[in-house]
Symmetry: C2
Subunit: 363 residues, 2 copies
């Protein structure tokens, strides 16, 4: 089947481009002696996680216990839940994975570490990473002293082990390699934390960080052992906007059909926020909901739930009902999460369709 | 089971409030001799559609063929696909519903009407509504003359019948009942269209409009026969913001748990844009991603995919990991679409959980 025959809206992924993205990040991590642990939130698809592992990734990252279950169910062995999981039932489900898989969890409080420790039955063990904040102001303790205190607390708990430290530098988008810039700041923070831990005699096996925009400057961070980019597998308009990839590196497109041309100067396509997600172009000028590949002059001006409203004023495009367009979404992780399955093609010929098995696993 | 025992994030719906919303809109429509045809995009749940029908709704509205299939599969008889469906496979699926259900489709072009007509086998028939634009600038032809031309074209096509006219006045949010305001403008536009049709000898059975914000001013629109509100079944922060309901009329809340308090002045909860959708508070000051019921002074300041970032500065709230909060989302339709199932409770006791069966039916 050709992608031109697919009903729209449909997500299509160019296998050549995706494989190249997977290979290129794996090579980068190998060249710099970093472990690669892709965040699977982007695709939520065990088959793609397997491709990342085959290319050299050491394990995967997830955000939810439900996603860990999906990856574990696909025989993936090494899973970091980079989320401070809390709640009795969720922790019981996490504990059920511990005997058969290598499970790690990132935590930023003694309370959470204790709850996890209590949930893991004797004889099992999971590794905990102490999460610190490197400027994102989301999760993570705020000072090297607090990291040390948390590491000490973890070290005293049964059925968990202190495995290292972690941060999510999701605020680092622009010029990560600038002299005196964010990667240097992160290096120095990690250095301080490691000194504190060393002074306490605590070994720090893992130093984990990473997101796609700064991924390929990870070697500038002294002491880093692991990187966790997610978006790079597909890339998106935000990745392009921040300069971390080119448009040709975007593997995923949303195929849509023009369904209305009744309003002058506009074309309506059959995908809106329930197809693309409502994410803005954060790394760009914050306008537009996607890049229209065939007519880059089109502005994807607004969205309803099921309508994409294209402003044609600057495009020279004369639309006809039934025209098909390919759109690169602003935020590919949120877009994929709207779909139950993805189509994978080579040169337009569909080779396979995979279920987004982790979608909807919100707990 | 109590809602306090549910794993988070979870959507809970207060049955008393929802039933009241359903009853109240049904009463309004009955009192004003209007047919009620709720848009099921809000809940995508056949069980709720059935409740709306039992309360007096004449039929349902959907946006996708896949949603029509879900509703048809639940033995719902009268389905308006308020979307200019285009594409061979989709039209074949639509045609397959036509022999057993009363199917209507809103179209705004001769091209789409012809494609539908060609797809319906002889012996079946579906009704077409000519959609006109009343200011939203999305779908719909722009003038009474164009409505007439479209109606004439439809009347000449086999296996479809011209059933009336329709518009989506989704731009009408504030003061719909103002003298000389948007509902009066809509009345006058409908009047012109009906005159044109009458002059051509075309009967216009249905005059359909409606969205939740202006729903209960529908009686101000002369000639209207049908209203299609969707959001009213649950209501949301946008509905409150526009003054169309009170906070107590919001039947749906997202239960979340505080999972991190490491960053000062903030609390992180276990739901972000993949739980709530990224919708802004369009009817309010455009800030904040939801209303925190227990602590209205909390600002739901930002979101990542799985993190909700609460700014506590104005709230006086001292958070603890494990605290549970209830949040009214900005845009309930987009929020429900993130979830595979919803929990329904009365006074906090869960009575039933229903699958969001239409979720993911993007085609």
């Amino acid at each position: 089947m050709r992608i031109e025959e697919l009903e729209t809206p449909a997500i299509v992924v160019d296998l050549d481009v995706m494989e190249n993205n997977i290979r290129s990040m794996a090579e980068y991590s190998r060249d710099h002696n970093l472990n690669l642990r892709p965040h699977t939130k982007t695709h939520k698809t065990p088959e793609i996680a397997r491709m990342q592992l085959n290319a050299g990734a050491r394990g995967v990252t997830v955000a939810k216990v439900g996603e860990a279950e999906v990856m574990s169910g696909a025989a993936i062995e090494d899973i970091l839940v980079h989320y401070p999981i809390f709640g009795q039932t969720k922790l019981a489900r996490l504990a059920a994975l511990a005997p058969k898989r290598k499970i790690l969890v990132a935590v930023d409080s003694k309370v959470t570490a204790e709850a996890i420790s209590s949930a893991i039955p004797n004889g099992s063990s999971i590794g905990l990473l102490a999460e610190f904040d490197s400027g994102m102001r989301r999760c993570g303790v705020s000072s090297p002293e607090e990291v040390k205190a948390l590491a000490e607390a973890i070290s005293r708990l049964p059925n968990v082990r202190f495995s290292g430290i972690s941060t999510y530098p999701g605020h680092i988008w622009a010029e990560p390699d600038k002299q005196g810039g964010p990667m240097e700041e992160l290096s120095s923070l990690i250095g301080e934390i490691k000194s504190q831990l060393a002074a306490s005699g605590i070994a720090c096996e893992v130093v984990s960080a990473g997101s796609t925009p700064a991924a390929k400057t990870s070697h500038l961070v002294d002491g880093l052992t692991e990187m966790r980019p997610g978006t790079y597998v597909f890339n998106d308009r935000n990745t392009v906007g921040v300069g971390a990839c080119a448009l040709e590196d975007c593997a995923l497109r949303v195929l849509v059909t023009v369904v209305s041309t009744a309003v002058k100067g506009r074309a309506i396509v059959d995908g809106g926020s329930k197809t693309f997600s409502g994410d803005r172009w954060l790394s760009g000028d914050k306008t537009g909901f996607g890049h229209v590949v065939e007519h880059p002059g089109i502005e994807f001006a607004s969205m309803s739930e099921e309508h994409g409203n294209l402003d044609l004023a600057q495009s020279g495009y004369a639309p006809n009902i039934g025209d098909r367009l390919s759109i690169i979404p602003n935020h590919v992780c949120a877009c994929v999460n709207m779909h139950d399955s993805l189509y994978f093609h080579r040169d337009g010929t569909v080779e396979v369709s995979w279920q987004v098995a982790g979608r909807g696993r919100v707990r």
